[in-house]
């Protein structure tokens, strides 16, 4: 992610950090905030796949997918219909999907309470309105989100077929950044 966004992301912290550094003694509190490995912890090693329900929406059909996919790299965008930057992220996701989506399992997933706080119809409406045209998944128990979310929303992760996180980042990303992250996983596979 762009450095500027990292700073914006923890900006709320680092601003106070100057004052807080004096007030809060002990080791620095924000080490590794922009280090995806740090946020993933055990997720960077192979873990059991999670079954995600997908919904009937533009570019998506009702069914199930395994994340990570067993036979190719998996890209997941974590979003919420409540999250304005997630709307901002959609055009770059669409472009990345056009460019490289056929080479990976390309998925957006939300952990919000679909069926109570937002209906599936509203979710699909949001999806359609903002140009979603790829697989749309639900993470009602937040298991997937908890494993791979890299900071705030939106957040993206690329996992290779062996379950290793090859790239993850939070904040709004460009299509180039998304594609580069995905290519990293594809190259890792080619090398393996």
């Amino acid at each position: 992610m762009r450095r500027r966004d990292v700073l914006a992301g923890i900006g709320s912290l680092s601003v106070i950090g100057t004052a807080g550094a004096l007030a809060i003694r002990g080791p620095p509190s924000f080490d590794g905030t922009d280090d995806p490995k740090n946020s993933n912890g055990s997720a960077s090693t192979a873990t059991d796949p999670i079954t995600i329900e997908t919904v009937d929406a533009p570019g998506s059909e009702a069914g199930e997918v395994r994340v990570p996919a067993p036979d190719r790299a998996t890209f997941v965008d974590f979003f919420g219909t409540w999250c304005p930057p997630c709307i901002e992220q959609m055009p770059a996701l669409a472009e990345a999907n056009d460019r490289i989506g056929d080479d990976v399992l390309f998925l957006s997933a939300t952990s919000e309470a679909v069926g109570s706080s937002v209906s599936e119809k509203e979710l699909v409406g949001w999806w359609d309105e903002h140009g979603g045209n790829w697989l749309l998944g639900l993470d009602p128990t937040a298991e997937l989100t908890a494993r791979y979310l890299a900071g705030g929303y939106p957040s993206a992760v690329v996992i290779d077929a062996d379950g290793r996180v090859q790239w993850s980042d939070s904040g709004v990303k460009t299509a180039d950044e998304l594609v580069a992250g995905i290519e990293r996983a594809i190259e890792a596979e080619a090398d393996a």
């Binding site: 709320s12 912290l13 007030a23 924000f30 128990t141 989100t145």
Partner: protein, 228 residues
């Protein structure tokens, strides 16, 4: 240090002396009242409560249940995860904090210890975080309000929140204009901490990087403490 080890050896001898204490001891493993081992990062010099400290009691209204929740009312009954946030948080840090509590709540339900757990999320933005706003936010973040173990805490005024978060728990906070965000008038630079407090009211873990620490780590630590 070895206060803990010291106490533990005391424990061992008192076990030998008074077998009647065994059932009490078996609850927690050692008699300093803590379940987890000391953390790698020693935060004991920090201004906020840390490992082994009593988590000071605070009473704050939960606008969704209509009750006033005191952080010590769960003593003897529930271990807690506690965090501080606001729903207008522009950078995703607060949803990341809430996600960790929410995931722990989910796992607690799945594993059957939901009634031994409490999840407290205190807003420091009562002006915007009304009852309705908090209810909506719960849905957006997938929080289960029906489980009976989740409480949004809402002090009456920002000043009250500040005196609790900063004054009581040692986490500086400020309120300032949010010029860099189009749709936000003001924001709150804040620390993204999560506290894990055992059922005796003692701090088992402090997660200073609460928005980025592996959720599985928080969930596992919490489960260890709750099920001890």
């Amino acid at each position: 240090m070895n206060r803990r080890l010291y106490l533990r050896s005391l424990t061992a001898s008192s076990v030998a002396a008074t077998a009647g204490c065994l059932d009490v001891l078996s609850l927690e493993g050692s008699d300093d009242g803590l379940v987890l081992e000391p953390p790698e990062n020693d935060l004991s010099e920090a201004t906020h409560p840390s490992y082994g400290d009593e988590f000071l009691a605070t009473s704050v209204p939960d606008p969704l249940t209509g009750e006033t929740v005191s952080t010590d009312q769960f003593e003897g009954e529930r271990a807690m995860l506690v965090t501080f946030f606001y729903t207008s948080c522009p950078d995703g840090v607060c949803p990341a904090l809430i996600l960790r509590l929410r995931r722990a709540q989910e796992v607690a339900a799945q594993e059957g210890y939901g009634d031994d757990a409490a999840f407290l999320a205190m807003t420091f933005d009562p002006e915007r975080d009304t009852e309705d706003a908090l209810r909506t936010y719960a849905g957006q973040q997938g929080v289960d309000l029906e489980a009976g173990n989740w409480h949004f805490l809402r002090p009456e005024r920002y000043e009250d929140a500040k005196s609790i978060v900063d004054g009581r728990y040692g986490l500086p906070i400020e309120k300032r204009d949010a010029d860099e965000y189009e749709n936000l008038e003001y924001m709150f630079p804040h620390f993204s901490y999560i506290f894990l407090v055992n059922e005796r009211g003692l701090v088992e873990r402090v997660y200073p990087d609460g928005a980025t620490i592996a959720t599985s780590k928080v969930v596992e630590d919490f489960e260890t403490v709750v099920t001890a």
